[in-house]
Symmetry: D2
Subunit: 336 residues, 4 copies
């Protein structure tokens, strides 16, 4: 595998710029192309990445000859069609979450990939590359807590400028936690019951804090919380109780500062800081896997499943009652 992998990056917002710059520091890869409707911004990122070619047309980037693989970091509504475009062009693609903005669109991506008959799509659930999460997964895998019985995740944002809707909290934030739950528990989520605290008392659709109760197919239970406006910082914690013990992701990694009446640890302000290492590992692992043959990270099916759980949550909020997670049949490509 002497050749480096030419990567094209679609979208140069926070995540796209981050991925491009990380790829520029990844052994075995080079940033071949950058696409953004904002040509100036695309040019700025390209300059940081050793002079990649810039595009304002995503489809043109996908089919470019020196683009071996694609990163999709454009606005959410474009994800599904662009991912399908990559699949149809036979090019591996790392698509930021969510895979789609509707469950039907996510199903289209799954179907396209299943029709192609091989794994081309990876979804940007970067927590699976975060050392704190990986350490927890490994600990469970070594059997240290026995069979997992209860999942608990806390997903805390600093502030949202505007009240967000409960649908947005579910579809844009909690999808990460749903994937985390499936991955760490090694079980599927069967039923959800969601409730929320309103940001604006008289507007029931606004969501200050989302709390989802989970029932897994194998009898385990769990909770997912999204605190959108914590007044604190950005923090993700997972705790899993098993038959033999309880394990929790490592705490804050900042220095202990004793000052003015408090022993304090600073928290990250946002995910770009908190998951900085995970994003580096994610693209490094993705490049290495592609050079070895095929992606090994979270699949289109994983992206679909998170949205199927999100769909059940939205129904639960509407109904005020627990709802079953409903899915299409799992294509053979994703079995085992």
């Amino acid at each position: 595998m002497a050749e480096t992998l030419g990567v094209g990056v679609i979208g140069t917002g926070g995540m796209g710029g981050r991925h491009a710059r990380n790829l520029a520091q990844t052994a075995g890869a080079r940033v071949a192309a950058i696409m953004d409707l904002d040509a100036a911004r695309a040019g700025a990122v390209a300059a940081d990445c050793g002079g990649a070619v810039t595009y304002t047309d995503a489809d043109a980037l996908i089919v470019a000859a020196d683009v071996d693989a694609v990163v999709i970091a454009s606005p959410d509504p474009t994800h599904a069609d662009l991912a399908i475009g990559c699949v149809e062009a036979g090019k591996p693609v790392l698509c930021e979450k969510p895979l789609a903005t509707s469950l039907a669109d996510a199903a289209r991506v799954v179907q396209a990939e299943a029709a192609a008959g091989r794994r081309l799509v990876q979804v940007g659930f970067m927590r699976v590359y975060d050392p704190a999460h990986v350490d927890l997964k490994d600990l469970i895998g070594r059997g240290e807590i026995g069979r997992p019985l209860r999942f608990q995740s806390g997903h805390c944002n600093t502030r949202f400028a505007e009240p967000r809707t409960v649908t947005d909290a579910i579809t844009n934030s909690a999808v990460h936690d749903f994937h985390s739950a499936r991955w760490l528990m090694g079980q599927e989520i069967a039923t959800v019951y969601a409730s929320h605290v309103r940001s604006v008392a008289e507007r029931p659709e606004t969501c200050r804090l989302l709390l989802v109760h989970l029932a897994f197919a194998d009898g385990a239970v769990g909770t997912v919380e999204v605190n959108s406006d914590s007044g604190y910082g950005y923090e993700v914690t997972v705790e899993i109780a098993g038959e033999e013990g309880v394990a929790r992701t490592a705490g804050l990694s900042s220095p202990a500062l004793r000052k003015a009446g408090n022993l304090a640890h600073a928290v990250a302000p946002d995910w770009l800081v908190r998951f900085a290492d995970a994003y580096v590992v994610e693209v490094g692992d993705w490049v290495a896997a592609l050079r070895a043959g095929a992606p090994t990270g979270p699949s289109a099916w994983d992206g679909y499943m998170s949205l199927a759980i999100a769909d059940a949550c939205v129904r639960s909020v509407d109904a005020g009652a627990p709802q079953e997670v409903r899915t299409m049949d799992r294509p053979e490509l994703y079995v085992g």
Copy 2:
């Protein structure tokens, strides 16, 4: 208030013996009487407490002339009638939780006290005297996290020899957490949704871990977890998210031991160790309050409310759906 308070203790099991010995070290109190069907055990405790008179008849202890106040620590099914006996005798009583083994019986105690027209009953929710809980309550009271939005409690036992029923986990363990939730949030619980992990897969009534989703009357949400068989130790943690921040009870207070590959802190094996200080403060505060006039701790109404929430949980397990908490009207005695 020159005279010391003569206290009679009914029941000398783990809690009764503990309360008696603590009262013997409490300024302003003396242990006047000890009752147990097991006269030898009553005698042993009495000897530790400066030679109290022993009884095998609880009613006789209640009416004894030198018994100014009573502690009930006998088996749960006896609580309600004994508490009513104390109320009718006009004697203040500290009754171990649960106040009764049915909601109807708890209502009888409330009605008896309401008829008496003055506070005589205190229920043994000792967490309100635990420094870790008091510090959290104070922090919230100072407004440090703003209005409470989400309650989370973890209640972890070491091991149960036999599989316990979900009803037992709710009625005997979670009642503590329900009181904790009401007290710390300063809000009433309106709806609950309970699910559990079975201890024995083929026996749906067995409960390895209970998880209850709460909706408060003022729009807050929460969870209560009882992990009956953790393989770890005895630990109670509460975390509350408010509009301005998130606060959690202090962690383990044991030394940090670095040894053999781990940095470890020992956990308490049971509640008698974990809440040792709280039990001392509880009886000290109770004695001081009685000497000053009337009990100020958790009331019969609080005991009733915990059981009303427990009742809704049991219904939720049966129905597999959220259930409203249903209560009698709150007597005037408990308002404000």
Copy 3:
């Protein structure tokens, strides 16, 4: 032992008032007498303690018939003579540290007690009653870290209004740590090497931070630090490395507060808050021990030894070189 112990308290500053009020809540004791040159302050404390008799003459209090035991919490220079007065009157005495303001005076107390032929003096090294310290001592006693090899203590004050002298930091603060070191290590300190950071650069006698290097008689080593002006709060930590592991006193017991970019734990502002429980246990244990016969806490010899180590530290600062700890012969009374 039916009678309660009548205690006289000399001095009603911070510690004297605290001890008096704690004794008023101690089963088996009553506050019989309060002495202070400030009669109004003595009266206020006496009123809080159930109406004790007040004195402005310490010697009169010591010999009062209803005073069975004495607490000395008057200014440091008075300690030695008052303690000797108690010994000569045959009355047990709990003397605040330091036992004396010179090593020679401390020797006089030791000699007086040795001449009396029985233990009457206890010195107020309250850390031996602090749960965090007791837990560490117990852990070592169980052999969990093997033989202790290295002692490390941090003693952190919030602020001093005026620059303190290095002699004061040694004699008034570090004496606590010297006792802690001897008690926890179970070894005597043979040599010390002390250096300090100045509060005021051009005044070598001022002490912002004191750092003492210890060599124990059995080959162990250690450090004692006094940070007088930390800008943080009041905290005492001890860490001991042994042949099999390293143990450290429990951390802060305050709630975890996540807010405004930090996860924070509040620290105590001063020793009255930090050691509130230890002071209660100290007088409770002292009263119980006296009622059972004789004091069991830190002895006059312990008070003398801390001052002998302090004396070596002062010599080390002057000499800029390590100094041996020099002591009188240990009287038979304190052997074993």
Copy 4:
């Protein structure tokens, strides 16, 4: 800077193999050559690094045309001469610590580089690339604790198979801490006083635990501890007290495991695990700096200074008294 940097690695033991493999994953670098007397081991590492040329003669590697820069990870006694060889060949070199095994040899490297008139040598003090240390440095740099007054470092190894000598503990382990102290405090160490606990009671040269008392030129103080045989794991902690507060490196980053009576965090077994990230960043930073012109990490002077402090420590152990740190004059190359 289109060309990648060809790096030759001398020595393929633990550190050499690690550096080679890290360089193989470093953007902008390629492993051009591997030298080891053990040709088979050299070949194995070369195979992992994309097929580098192997050597058994270090001098041949240094002068090879496609070797642009050199990593020295051979046995300690070879360091100085190999580093001088690189300097004379005009090739940048990353030399593992210690820079030399005698202060005189370290001086020769410094003199050679000074004669060359430009920075070519970097010493492998990788802690300056460790996130926990960098975060502490940044915090101090932001002025959060004011002027540093006291340094404390703990350097804990798991086990040594054989008793090590105190000279070895100083020269091979504590040199890291001496650099850490200089770097984090931003002050030079003026005087040291070292004592140690013996591994074998009757052999004074054996060292179970080393404790060094530091006095800085600007009036600050400090301690360095090396616990060679902790029975725990590998851990490095630094705590610095300043005029406004006290800061400490982040704690363990492993999951919290609640099990069997303890809340535990696993510690790293050795430095290869603990500093895995730091080693990656170290070579990445070194490569990037070389491609931009010259190394920016710890210099030959830093390597020399650590050995000068070590030399004073060895003298202090021999003399049983504090010793001044004595150094050559600082060449102009290292000023500012």
